[in-house]
Amino acid sequence: MLTKYIFVPAAAAFAAYILNKKNKKAGATITALVSAYLLLSLALIYGSWELNQSFNLSLMGYQLEFLMALTPLSWLFAVLTSAISLLIAVFSIDSQADFKFSSVFNLNFLLVIGSIMGVLFARDFLTLFIFWELMTWTSFYLISSGKKKMAGRAAYRYLILSAAAAYSFLMAVIFIFQQTGSFAFEPAAEFLLNNSAPQSILLLLAISLPFWVKAGIFPLHVWVKDAHGNAPKEFSPFLSGMLLKVGFYGLIVVFHQLSFFKIIENTIAYRGLPLLSYLFALLGAVTIITGTILAIRQEDMKKLIAYSSISQMGYIIIGIAIATPLGFSGSMLHLMNHLIFKSTIFLALAAVIYRTGTTKMYEVGGLIFRMPLTFAAYLTAIIALAGIPPTNGFISKWVIYQALIEKGYLFLALAAFFGSIASFMYVFKPLSTVFLGQLKPQHQEIKEVPLLMKIPMLILIGVIVLFGVFPGIQMNIISQISGDLGIETVNYSLYSIQGAFGAWNSLYIFNVFAAGFVIALLVFGLAKKSKLVGLLDTYSSGEYVTDAESYHYAYQYYRPFDRLFDNLAAKSLTGFYETLTANLLKSGESFRRIFAAGRVQNYALYSVLLFVILAAVGWII
């Protein structure tokens, strides 16, 4: 019974709101319990793809039927949502101690989970739209409960952009409803297939607009930085982990289930791929490049990681757009892996913020001594993000490279390489500024985060390595999905994936790394211990240093590199949107000045004028 996945979180949300008023920890525990329950029940129904449910309603003369069904794709996303929300809920039990809006946070968090479930299981446009709107509204409230003024503006911009996209979705969907008489996907798909190609493409693009916005692809990525940067520290992992992915769920539905690829098959091709999908891939590449460059410039750690999410999304869209078996499974792999390592990074940063209270990298330093586990979690996550072998990040990037090289798209491959190489830079920046270097005097007595916040980080580190070594687990479900969507599957085994130019055996590599690690441990153990030196006992060529001044170099870490792209970053896209809306609304101002000049005689004059004009118009016709 699929509606339980929506109503259980919704009911729990109101319970969490009331209970949290009394005890700050109650809300987060309820969220954790609900997500665990969802995870369990999803695991039980794995494989029963025929599970569906529909109820129809004659509303105001419209015969509407709301369909819900379980597909492998929606099952995977549902599992990912409930898993990540479970981990975040456990993490936020303690971290919300000082959070003013914690009861509103838990209410909206559970509602977001419920509405995402609704979006995933919807098989008709109306249910999809209703839950999509609910998801947007509740996540709007979540984001605006973050840092005071900036969170409000960020959430405001996010909502306006998603609302505009949702309205284009509504318009296209109702147009289809008029032609086919129902909102379900299947009749719409076959109506679009045998409809005139340009109109179908236009309709499908209008339908996919909200998904592009939510996925944060290049022209529409403006909201991501501010929303992630200013959202409450517990919601950022979910926002960049899961919410961005729901956009991709929609895109896959549009590309495959609404037969977008079948429609554009016979349009003009470019190097063996329909022009439109090559354009999407190009957009992905541009997103990677801009995301990476802008990430390097950031001084606020959450904004930096937000831009890195944007650039990682570029990889996924490239994989989906080229629609080869390797490409599709690569992007699905990267989608899952990005969720895992990105939420680890955000949880680690949340731990740092929980302890130090600041998100600016240059205000902290040398936390490795006080918070070793957070450092370890952060380190494994950025190794995965950069794509170094033993972790899961490497596998998905490797598969995407294979797909690109197999089709011979050099520019896209180049952009992908640039993305992963440059990611070393922006990934290393928080590592060195936050964790390495000297510990600031005021952070001397910082302790490690409490146990309940350690557990999610430990689990995630384990999963990163687990999927790094045994990608087969992920490939099982991905092959189910590609079978369901009609894409041939890549042959794989528990620990190896067959690429275009040879297989990748992760177990063998893991053994080599493990051996290397052991040797390094031995050398470290046996060799002479280095003398522990006080951090602030700095020596600088004879000059006598009196105060505890730290030589920890953290501000504008990559200044020379940033100077290369100064002019590019200046023309940021948000500026373009800002000016666009500003002078649209300024016309309202001039409208008011012309007409509502405050003189009652002008008002009376306009009414007589209307009479004369309409009489003249009537007389001419």
């Binding site: 405050g598 005689q601 009376a604 004059l605």
Partner: protein
């Protein structure tokens, strides 16, 4: 010929009166003059309404000793009833308008409407 003159004087006259009243409302600066023109417009419309109901060589719609039976030709009574009501409504609105003018005068101590810009927006 006389009838033509009469027709044009009544219809034309009342419409001209409406025109003068409307022009007065739109152009005059003084608030009391605006209300006067509003009154003129009302009178003009009332005149037009009754003129529309006039019948040549018919007598007033009252049965009395002079024309005892309803067989005689009468003028249309309905516009007269409507005008009766509309005159009183016009006066009521004007009286309220004048009270408002007096109140506004207490605040701005001027009757010139362009100097009363309290409600800019």
């Amino acid at each position: 010929m006389l009838n033509f003159l009469e027709e044009w004087s009544f219809f034309g006259g009342s419409i001209l009166l409406i025109f003068i009243g409307l022009y007065g409302v739109l152009s005059r600066k003084n608030m009391i003059k605006i209300l006067i023109s509003l009154g003129l417009m009302d009178t003009g419309v009332n005149l037009l309404l009754v003129a529309l109901g006039y019948v040549e060589a018919a007598n007033a719609p009252i049965i009395n000793s002079v024309n005892p039976s309803n067989a005689a030709a009468f003028v249309d009574p309905i516009p007269q009833a409507l005008v009766l009501t509309s005159i009183v409504i016009g006066t009521a609105v004007l009286a309220l308008g004048l009270a408002l003018v007096m109140k506004i005068y207490d605040k701005y101590s001027t009757l010139n409407i362009s100097e009363i810009r309290g409600l800019k927006w």
